[in-house]
């Protein structure tokens, strides 16, 4: 059967740039103690944070880059500016946000989404938040959703100090140390005991600047019996030099609480996405990850869940779509510590036009995790023979009182399925796109409707017949 030509994705929706020449402040490129000190000055860091940044810089300089995974040789920290600030302070009303920045978020549909389907929004542009708002009735329930820097210096400073980089210590890996040294922006969320936030909160991260890094920190604490859905989106215009994203997400799910964390990642294809996400789940808690990885030149992304409490549970549902010039190394880690814990990983990956997609995971059942159950299911779809798809799952089981199952499949689009659809009057390209959308369906059905539509749109663009 003749194959339809598959085109590259049309990223014009995300690939628009703002002129940096007016009113932007940009720190010099490279990473030195002086630069880290300047970031502290910019942010009016308390002393403990100032010392923390320098400690992390020291760790960063001592640590090596990973000796596994995708190559990051093209990332030169001497050519990355760690801090770029637009001319706007954080606003609580879109009308007060400068027009060109507001237009950026209008094009991305953020204010419209806020009006129609979100309880609160945070919008970060380069290194700083430019907009943050929470619906009044949600705020009245005691929910806190604020910029991370406000939280560091404001009334939640003690809570931030207690939790900040405790789950992802800077000793974890080189880019966690980098994050600790130069973090900027991000969100802090606290949901009080028993509060169910009925509609999601969203943070959107936009990196406009050329040759810059974005290092936002997200800290979410969902207290006992509370419930939250948090959505994270990100995009950037494409530049001809490397950009870096090394954010950090720390999630605390307390006793009998539930947190769903959904991400549609659509960075441009010059981005090195070295992001770290981790959740700690207490007794009876439930963590749900929904993750779509479509952008970036190189990604290292493995959300980790520590099931510390007895009867805690985690589900990870993810899709990765690697096209031309992309090397996306994604997956998940599950650490079972508590008794009667359970986890389920369900991932899909698609490779096309020379893209490399790697599913990498680790399931660890500690000796204390009696009656733990873990299941992993990963499926990969190869759309041509220029591409590559690897599956690298690890399982460590330290007790016999556990059940661990794993299944993996790799294959291509079935000629029979395409023929079947074509015999019903559907063109070959439409048939292939439908099959790929069906393959991704377990992920899209977990997303709110408008985000599922965005994801399906990305897939359709990837598959469109030239």
């Amino acid at each position: 059967m003749a194959k339809a030509k598959i085109q590259e994705v049309d990223r014009s929706l995300y690939d628009f740039k703002d002129d940096e020449s007016h009113g932007f402040y940009r720190m010099e490129e490279g990473l030195t103690a002086d630069i880290v000190g300047q970031i502290s000055d910019e942010k009016h860091d308390p002393d403990w944070m100032r010392e923390w940044r320098l400690y992390c810089l020291d760790l960063y300089n001592q640590m090596s880059v990973p000796d596994w995974g995708p190559s990051i040789e093209g990332l030169d920290m001497d050519r990355i500016s760690s801090y770029v600030r637009s001319k706007s302070d954080m606003k609580g009303d879109w009308k007060e946000v400068p027009d060109e920045i507001k237009n950026t978020f209008e094009k991305l549909g953020i204010p419209q989404a806020e009006r129609e389907s979100l309880a609160g929004v945070g919008a970060q542009y380069d290194s700083e938040l430019v907009y943050h708002n929470l619906q009044e009735d949600v705020a009245k329930q005691g929910v806190v959703y604020t910029g991370f820097e406000e939280a560091v210096t404001g009334e939640y400073s003690d809570m931030v100090k207690e939790y900040f980089m405790k789950l992802v210590p800077p000793t974890d890996h080189k880019f966690a140390a980098l994050h600790g040294a130069v973090w900027s922006g991000g969100s802090f969320v606290y949901v009080p005991k028993g509060v169910h936030v009925e509609i999601p909160l969203q943070s959107y991260f936009r990196l406009n600047a050329k040759g810059a890094g974005q290092f936002e920190h997200t800290l979410i604490i969902v207290d006992e019996g509370a419930d939250l859905h948090f959505i994270e989106g990100c995009s950037a215009p494409k530049w001809n030099v490397a950009n870096l994203h090394a954010g950090c997400v720390e999630l605390y799910v307390k006793k009998n609480a539930r947190l769903r964390y959904s991400t549609i990642e659509n960075w441009s294809k010059n981005m090195y996405n070295l992001n770290t996400k981790r959740a700690l789940v207490e007794e009876g808690g439930r963590m749900e990850w929904v993750s779509g990885s479509f952008g970036s030149h190189v990604s290292y992304l493995y959300p980790t869940t520590i099931l510390k409490g007895d009867h805690s549970h985690c589900e990870f549902t993810g899709i990765t779509f690697a096209g031309k010039g992309q090397n996306l190394d994604t997956g998940a880690k599950m650490i079972h510590i508590g008794k009667d814990t359970s986890s389920f990983i369900d991932t899909k990956s698609i490779s096309k036009s020379g893209g490399i997609s790697t599913y990498r995971s680790a399931v660890v059942i500690e000796k204390s995790a009696e009656n733990a159950k873990a299941s992993v299911s990963c499926a990969s779809l190869m759309l041509d023979s220029k591409s590559r798809s690897d599956t690298i799952p690890a399982m460590t089981v330290k007790t016999n009182k556990a059940d661990v199952g794993h299944e993996a499949k790799i294959g291509r689009i079935s000629d029979e399925a395409v023929f079947y659809l074509m015999s019903r009057g559907i063109s070959e390209s439409e048939a292939r796109a439908m099959i790929v959308s069906g393959f991704a369906n377990p992920v899209s059905k977990e997303l709110p409707l408008e985000y599922a539509a965005e994801m399906n749109n990305l897939i359709r663009l990837e598959m469109e017949n030239g």
Binding site: P66, D67, W68, G69, P70, S71, V298, N327, I356, T358, R360, A362, K367, S380, M382, L383, D384, S385, S387, R388, S389, D390, T391, I392, P393, A394, M395, T396, V397, K398, T399, N400, K401, A402, D403, V404, G405, H406, E407, A408, K409, I410, G411, R412
Partner: protein, 380 residues
């Protein structure tokens, strides 16, 4: 000096401790190790056995179906390891064996020959020996051979038993190879296999690892020829403070190749096990199929299992599948046995027998099967 063995073809997080195995104090082994006499039975017409020197062994390996030199995959940090005739334990172990300067035993089957009776190849390590044996099994075009290799020693013996086996199957050749390890429980055992398969060649490989204390097993099968097939069944028992470190790589290079690997194991006491199984579809392997399946029965709360099932793929038109199940006997199985008056311990024994029996039954010699039964009765 330590030897790095069983290196994962595509590395992952170092802190998991699964990227490779390490044989410690190898220089001590190198000083002590010597060759060992082996015996062969059932050499029919068309099957020859002789000892050859290093240069001749190298000439034979160089003439095997061409293995493409390993490459660095663009954009990936280190993937694959360079070895002219690739084996599971890898280049460091190969160099270690070569460093001993031993003769190689060559078993050849002439083209077109198809002896019916199996060849029995016995290696007795007796007691407290530190010995290494290496062989090349060369099966000519359209020839076939059934070969059973067994390694034994005194029941309580300890020592070092090193094996290196290289298999060359010419186009249309078939080899049914069984390896049975029944060493004393103090042995350090290493068993390395490298195989090169021509077009339409068929390798059936059964491996039983029943004895020894620390065991390192590696197999790399290069399916170079179109329509070559590789079927393997490995079963192991690991007890006390013993450990087993396993790597199997099916490298599917030819068109329409097939691989099917299964691994069944039982861990007792504080035994530790690492398994790495890789289906590797290389560019050009269109129409190929690969399956692997792992079952681990953990019969002690102190046992530890690590599993690493990889599928690497750079070809569109392939189908790869992996499945694994790790843990104790499922409650519904125990309930089923219970309703028939069989208690948990008896049920476990039956399941152990079933796992080992799956491979034992594939060994085409009643005498060897009987010895396996006796060994299990004595040790388990």
């Amino acid at each position: 000096m330590n030897i790095t063995v069983n290196r994962l073809p595509d590395l992952t997080w170092n802190r998991l401790g699964m990227n490779y195995g390490v044989i410690r104090d190898a220089d001590n082994l190198l000083r002590q190790a010597a060759g060992i006499d082996t015996t062969q039975e059932g050499l029919e017409a068309g099957v020859s056995y002789r000892r050859i020197g290093r240069e001749e062994a190298q000439r034979i390996l160089d003439a095997a179906p061409a293995q493409v030199p390993e490459k660095i995959v663009a954009g990936k940090l280190p993937i694959y390891h360079a070895q002219r005739f690739a084996t599971g334990l890898g280049g460091d172990y190969d160099a270690f064996v070569a460093g001993l300067g031993l003769d190689t035993e060559l078993l050849e089957v002439a083209a077109g020959e198809r002896p019916e009776a199996p060849v029995l190849w016995h290696v007795d390590f007796y007691d407290s020996s530190c010995a290494v044996t290496q062989q090349i099994i060369h099966v000519g075009k359209n020839a076939s051979l059934t070969l059973i290799m067994d390694y034994s020693s005194a029941p309580e013996a300890c020592g070092f038993a090193g094996i290196s086996t290289k298999v060359i199957l010419e186009d249309g050749a078939r080899l049914h190879l069984s390896k049975v390890q029944m060493l004393g429980r103090g042995y350090l055992h290493t068993d390395d296999l490298g195989a090169s398969l021509g077009a339409g060649a068929d390798l059936i490989f059964n491996q039983l690892e029943l004895g020894g204390e620390d065991v390192y097993v590696g197999a790399q099968v290069e399916q170079i020829g179109d329509k070559s097939r590789f079927t393997s069944r490995l079963a192991y028992l690991t007890r006390k403070k013993g450990s087993i470190d396993i790597t199997y790589n099916a490298v599917q290079r030819g068109r329409k190749t097939e691989s099917d690997m299964s691994f069944d194991g039982v861990l007792y006491d504080s035994a530790k096990k690492i398994w790495r199984g890789t289906i590797d579809f290389r560019n050009g392997s269109a129409g190929s199929v690969g399956h692997e399946n792992e079952n681990v029965l953990m019969l002690s709360e102190d046992a530890e299992n690590k599993s690493m099932p990889l599928i690497l793929c750079e070809e569109e038109d392939v189908e790869g599948q992996h499945g694994s199940s790790i843990g104790r006997l499922a409650d519904d199985i125990l309930f089923y046995f219970g309703t028939r008056g069989i208690d948990e311990r008896a049920a476990e024994e039956m399941m152990v027998d079933a796992r080992i029996g799956t491979v034992t039954r594939e060994i085409p010699d009643a005498g060897v099967r009987e010895r396996i039964g006796s060994f299990l009765q004595r040790t388990v």
